[in-house]
Each structure stands twice: as C-alpha cells, then as structure tokens.
Subunit: 368 residues, 2 copies
C-alpha cells in the first residue's frame, strides 16, 4: 500500500469515522480505522457494530492496499502534522510509514482481513431531505428520549413516514417531542433509531442545503451524504402511539416571547434546584405569567407578559423540562396551550407548524 | 440595609471575590460573601482564611448595613438578571429582597457579625508593577511548582526582591522556572506565596499597564489593585537556594524556533505517552535537532533546524517538561544550552533576558 493524501482531508475523514469508534469495545480491532486505498480514493471505516461510518476522500494511490490502524493515536498524530501532503506506505506486513515534510512516523497496524464485514445495503427505498433540516429535527427531539433502559424502545427516536410527511418523535413518559417536515415519498415507515447513534449522525450532518438520502431496511437505516455513509441498526419493538397522547383542545392559549419565559424559568430554577424536584409554578392570568419557586434559601418571583386567550390557570412543572423545550425552539414567539392544572401543556411555534411539544405538569396539593 | 447597584458591576464584583471562596470549608459562613453597604459604596469580601479578596464598587446606598449571603446561588441569580439596576433591601433581620425590573427574589442571609475579621495590613512597604507584567511572571513560573506536599515550601512561588529586581521562582526537583523584572525598590525580601492562591491572583490581574501595589508583612502579601485587594498568607520555611543550581557555562548552544520545536516535541510525545515516562530523545548536531520517541505501537522522528554553537549532544527528557516551558515562553526564538547528556538544559529567550528555565534530563542506558 502506498498513497499521498492532503493532511486536512485525512484529518477530517478520521474525525468523521471516529464518531463510530468507542473505547469500550470487546473487539480490539474495532478500536481501529479500516483504511482501504484503491482507485485513487481512500475509504475510511469506523464502527462499533451498532453504528458504522464510512467516508471516501481523494488520494494519489500508488499501490492499492488495506490496513486497520489504531484510531486514537493515528488521529492525534495526523492532527499535529503540518498542513501539507502526507505520504503513507507499507514497510512490511504489519507496519506503515507516515511522512510529512520533516516528520516521520512508523506504526504497527492490524490486518484488514480481520475487520468485520459491513452489512451490504440495497439503496432503493430512498427519500431525501436537506442535511441542516434533518440535523435540526434530530436536535429538536433527541433531548426527550428516555434516559433509563426500562423500556428500551424509548431510548430511540421514531422516524415515521406517513402522508408525505417525516415525523421524528421522542418521548420519555414525562414529555413528548415531535418535529415534522414534508417529504416527497408515499411510503409508510416506522423505524426507531437508537439515540446514541443518532447523536453521532447529527454531528456529521452539516448546516447545509445539500441532501441526505435515507434508506430503510428491516434492521438498518442508511444515511447517505455523498462521500460519507452512516449505517445504524434499528431498535426492535413497537413505539408508543404518540398521536393519541397529544390533546387537540385547550381552555387557555398563551402567546409568549420565548427568550423572556426561558430566562424567567432559568432564574426560578436556580432556587428550585435546592428543593426537591426543580419545581416552578406558573400562575397564568391577565396577560401575565407569574413564575415562582422557593426553597429553604429563599423565593423567586418573575413576571412575563403574554397574550392570553381563555381561562386562567395555575400549574407547576419540573423546570428542566420547560428549559429543554424553550432552548431548542427556533421561533421567537411561541404558543402554550393549557387545559387545567393537571393536564399536559402543549407548546408550539406561533408561525411554523413544524413542532409539537407536550409536557406533563407536576400535581400540587390544593393549598399551593 | 438598602441600596441600588448596576447589575453588571455587582456581577463582576461577585465573580472576583468568589475566587477566594471554596466549597470545602469547615466554616459555613465562609461559603458566603460579606457585603457591606456604606458611604455610597459596596464592599464585597470572599475568603477561605488563606486567601481573602475584597472589592469595592459604586452603589446608591439608601441605608447602611452588612450581611453575609450564600455565594453560589446569589452569584447565579445576579448573573441571570437583566442588565439593569438592581435594588437590594433588608426585609427583616435574616432576609433580603432583590428586585430587578420584573424579577423579585428573597433570600435568607447570615449575620455579618459572625464573619471572621480580615487581618489589618499596614500598607507601607510598597513596590508597584504593571498588572499584566506580574500576571505573565506568575504564569511563567507557577507551572513548575511541586505538586506533592513532601516539601510544602515547594508548592509555592518565591517572590524575591534583590538588587532592584523582582524574581519569581518555582521549582519541583526536576525543573526550575525563574522570571525577572526590574523594580524600583531597594529592599531585600524573600516570601513564598502558595501556588493555589497565586493562581487566583493571576486570574484577577488584568492585561493592563495599571499598577498593582504590593506590600509584604511577616505572614502576608497584599496585592492592591485599587478597588480590589487580595491578601494571601505566606508559606513558612526556607526556599531552596536556586541561584547555585543554574549553571553559567555550557558546551552547546542552540538557537531554536520555539513553535517548531514545540510542535515536534508534541508529535513525539503522542507516541511517547504509550511508553513509560513520556520520553523524547534529542540528537543535536549539524544545525539540526532530531527528536525521536518510540513505544510498542511505533516510532516518531522529527527534524528541527537550529543554529548550533559548540559540541553535539544526545539527551533525553520527559516531554511534558519541555512542552510546559515552550508553551509559556513569549519570544519566537529561544536559546537552549547543554553541557552533556546528563547535565541540565537551560532555556532562555534569545533577546529579552527576563526568564531562565532549567530542565533535568532523563538518564539513558548507553546503547540508547
């Protein structure tokens, strides 16, 4: 094997495939990056069996070949080399030489034949969506996945294709997050992607209008970004029928400036942290939300102006859940819908109907 | 007590005095900030008994008074309040009310009478030095203090005033760091400041030519920055006579581009980390330093061009010690002086004679 490659391109490719490489693997070869040099391309692959990332870059390949090289040290060395062309060539069956200007390194490597085969996916059931849109949809839902493993399916995000729409849905028993975009596809699909791997997918997706092409198989989802492909397993099992949980009616609708309510909840949450359950109380009436919290150290009271339609209500929440939602929402004006102090609250953008968040309140004793 | 104060000024003052407040105190009152309102000033004090920081800001004081308020929560709340005027006033003997636009908070506070008295220092034996200069001198030495407590005096930095010079000196048995500046003072002083407190002093010093006035007493050093005063205890005991350790002669002098040697040592250290003692070897001859390192994973070889005067030498170091020094030095061209493979190396700036670093080599078996 012998090739020349630009340092910056190799560094970027390493950093992409490293997102699939974990230290806690029982297969030492998966701590390595598989590098294939052929047809004037380098193909780099990183995998932890659940998630596999493959990326292709240009190289001047003098002699084809494949190796597996320990990912961490290789990545650190390449990163530190000067911005110039790097030459990599085999010295013998188990070591390579790396040259870059006045730097030279030799490395022991592993045998490419021992690297697990990547499942072959037939890229036929495809729809496409701009990368930045999917990135936002993931960020807008993934925070609401279940953190514990009691119901493993809830540690994933549902990708639902239905009525020419893509819905991403996460829920953990206390809240539901739904993001929706139109897509040009008539299929009906329900697939649940593990939150852990989806997090890494979100990091690889770029803030660009370039499309990502998506293929589903019974066991996998494939994200094709052009030169980079990301393959994740799906979680097995039935997702919760989330549509029936979200109420369509309300008794109170408040239009709120998102940053104002976020800041008020954050102030109130500081003192609420001292108490038991991050409790903040909202007293909604007369075009105002009064946010209060208290602990043995003191009390906080915040006023937020709103536009109110309907009845007034007093309701309490775990402040963390409100903060998570307000932080991720994109519009400055949002709508909060309430029915009673013991019914869930629904939060949406005022303009764009592309997200729905549902939050369960904390039930208070009557005298609160 | 009642006063009005600008949020940004109060926030900055809190963040300054918090540098002296530790969570691990056996005196709960020291988790608080002492706030005194008098003469249209607020004085804030934070202390951990070894280090005390006092800062003064303008306020519109309607009614004098003193309280001690739990530092962490108070700081977090003030930080989150809008950029506007804050009103703080006593409600009763043990609580205050904080108002800022539409935010209101009430806090339990502690009794100012219970706060330990700060030692009164007579500010008479004073010299002054620009803040940014002292900040650089501290940063340029403090990394070399001893990390273990076997010889407590070495966990501090020596402030030595002698021959109209201020020398800061730190050493840990493997290396010595000396920074020197001229000052206008004829006294002879040797005082050792604990590294922990000096770190906080460096954070408070600004990148400015404004002076810091320094007073020594037998047990304390006082840094007076105008509105802020920092008082630290001194370490007891005799510092090592560092002057006799630093050799004045050498057999080899190399003029080196600092960033080139730093980068080469960093690359070599990546692979050296896998081995036993972060070892890097320098082979200095023919206007080149060849930097090598190796481990069971591979080897690295780097070439650095230098200007060499004198004999050639092969010598090995713990890479961390070289990196620490090169990272902190300010000139692009530096001088490295060697005598033999088992003698210390002395590193200086090429132009400005304001620093001297000494590094002990690692002794190698002959066949290396």
């Amino acid at each position: 094997m012998k090739f020349f490659v630009e340092k910056s391109e190799l560094q970027e490719a390493i950093s992409k495939v490293q997102k699939a490489i974990t230290n806690k693997t029982t297969m030492p070869i998966l701590e390595g990056i598989l590098i294939k040099a052929e047809n004037n391309k380098l193909i780099l692959i990183g995998s932890n069996t659940e998630l596999t990332i493959e990326t292709k870059i240009n190289a001047d390949v003098i002699e084809d070949g494949s190796i597996v090289i320990e990912s961490k040290l290789f990545g650190e060395i390449i990163k530190k080399l000067p911005n110039s062309q790097i030459e990599i060539h085999s010295i013998d069956d188990n070591s390579i030489n790396i040259k870059c200007l006045k730097s030279t390194a030799t490395f022991i490597h592993m045998d490419a034949a021992d690297y697990p085969k990547t499942p072959q996916i037939n890229e036929n059931m495809i729809f496409s969506i701009p990368q930045k849109l999917l990135k936002n949809m993931i960020k807008g839902t993934i925070f609401a996945i279940a953190q514990d493993e009691t119901r493993p399916i809830l540690t994933g995000v549902l990708f639902q294709v239905k009525n020419k729409k893509l819905n991403l849905v996460a829920l953990d028993g206390y809240r539901v997050a739904v993001r929706t975009e139109n897509i040009d596809n008539d299929n009906v699909i329900n697939a649940v992607i593990p939150g852990k791997t989806l997090n890494e997918v979100a990091k690889i997706l770029e803030e660009s209008d370039e499309p990502v092409h998506i293929t589903f198989t019974p066991n996998h989802i494939l994200f094709n970004l052009g030169n980079t492909k990301v393959l994740s397993i799906l979680l097995k099992g039935e997702f919760i029928k989330y549509e029936s949980i979200i109420p369509n009616e309300y008794n109170l609708k408040a239009i709120v400036k998102k940053n104002e309510i976020l800041n008020s909840i954050e102030i109130a949450s500081l003192i609420g942290k001292e108490g038991s359950n991050n409790l903040v109380k909202l007293d909604i009436k007369d075009d105002t939300i009064i946010v209060t919290s208290n602990s043995q150290l003191g009390t906080v009271r915040e006023e937020v102006n709103i536009i109110l339609q309907g009845e007034s209500v007093k309701i309490a929440f775990n402040s963390k859940y409100l903060i998570d939602v307000f932080k991720i929402m994109e519009e400055e004006e949002i709508v909060m819908e309430f029915s009673s102090s013991i019914s869930p609250c629904v939060v949406k953008n005022k303009e764009n109907d592309n997200c729905t968040y549902l939050l369960l309140p904390v039930r208070l004793a009557n005298n609160n």
